[in-house]
Amino acid sequence: MTRDRMNLKGVRTLLVDADAFGASLMTQMLHGLGLDNLEIASSGSEAQKHVEAGAHDLCLCDADLPDMPAPALVQWVRHLPTQARFLPMLVLTGYSDFRNVTAFRDAGAHLVMKKPASPQALYDRIAWVARPPRAFVECESYIGPDRRFRSVGPPGGVPRRATDLSSEIGVATEPNLSQDEIDSLMRPMRIVT
């Protein structure tokens, strides 16, 4: 998703990166993008202290932490009893860590991004994370943002209920509605008689 303009000034951001040079590069880039309220943690435990000490609007977390696996940090945040558990978390992985993308997703990360984190990629990913908040899911096996983006029907082996909609919707016979047409359907209008 691209966004024409974002106001990142004052957005309280926690950057977790054990690599001092990587963190300094990231800081420079984020300042360039307009993000001026940045706290830096160089380990998972330091990040935990920052999260406990103050409210943040966004967390950018490197996947390679010296003292704990990054999914454990994400999971720790998600299990907090405070509002901090809703913290939008963007995990940045190196080439080899990206194979663990499902671990980060299952821990409750909002987004996993493979490096290099170019200014453009960072801007667009932050814009994506900053969309109107995604629904949050809390269940026994998962706490985090709702990962469902499309309806894929019931899982394998689960029969359709009589009340389920048919999966056969056929081929489109007319062109798609334009956004204006969709908007006009949603807009309440007074009926003049």
């Binding site: 691209t2 966004r3 024409d4 303009r5 974002m6 106001n7 990142l8 000034k9 004052g10 957005v11 690599d19 040079f21 990587g22 300094s24 590069l25 420079q28 880039m29 984020l30 300042h31 360039g32 993008l33 307009g34 609007d57 966004l58 390679d64 509002q83 809703f86 913290l87 939008p88 190196g94 080439y95 080899s96 860590d97 194979r99 490096k115 290099p116 984190a117 170019s118 200014p119 453009q120 960072l122 801007y123 932050i126 814009a127 994370v129 900053a130 969309r131 109107p132 908040p133 995604r134 629904a135 949050f136 899911v137 809390e138 269940c139 026994e140 943002p145 709702d146």
Partner: protein, 153 residues
């Protein structure tokens, strides 16, 4: 009894904050970010050189399987920095070394010669990328050889 799942709108200010008036247009923000990045080019290149030397030292010390994760993490940093600064051939050679290290880690074994060849390629491409395609082809051949039964000892 299983606790029912709760699905609810997540509270959070980020979406509202970024919509406040002001801020930077996307193009300008990205250009500023790039400018800051470009200012760090020289130290970044020096860092890449240092990381390749670290890899070279590790490779020269007859690494054991226990050293592979450290080498892989160092290699990850080379890839990230090289790709960030447009050193595509170097990043590609780094990916090839990473793939090799991942395969060796999975088998808990080490192939010192193959690692050394890849590190030499990184040194070459870190300095001069004029023969990049030839170097990458040679690395590809090494990897094919390993896949086809030249199994690491």
């Amino acid at each position: 009894m299983k606790k029912p799942a709760r699905v609810f709108p997540a509270p959070g200010d980020l979406a509202v904050l970024v919509e406040r008036p002001g801020g930077l247009p996307r193009g300008l923000a990205i250009a500023q970010g790039q400018l800051r990045l470009d200012e760090q080019r020289a130290p970044a290149l020096a860092m890449i050189g240092g990381l390749i030397e670290t890899l070279g030292d590790l490779a020269a010390r007859q690494p054991a399987p226990a050293h592979l994760p450290e080498m892989r993490r160092t290699c990850d940093r080379v890839i990230a920095l090289a790709a960030l600064y447009g050193l595509d051939a170097l990043a590609e050679a780094g990916r090839m070394l990473c793939d090799l290290l991942l395969a060796l880690e999975a088998r808990q074994t080490v192939h010192g010669e193959a690692i050394a060849v890849h590190v030499r390629a990184l040194r070459l491409l870190g300095g001069d990328a004029s023969d990049a395609s030839q170097v990458l082809d040679e690395l590809g051949r090494v990897q094919s050889h390993l896949r086809e039964g030249g199994a690491p000892q």
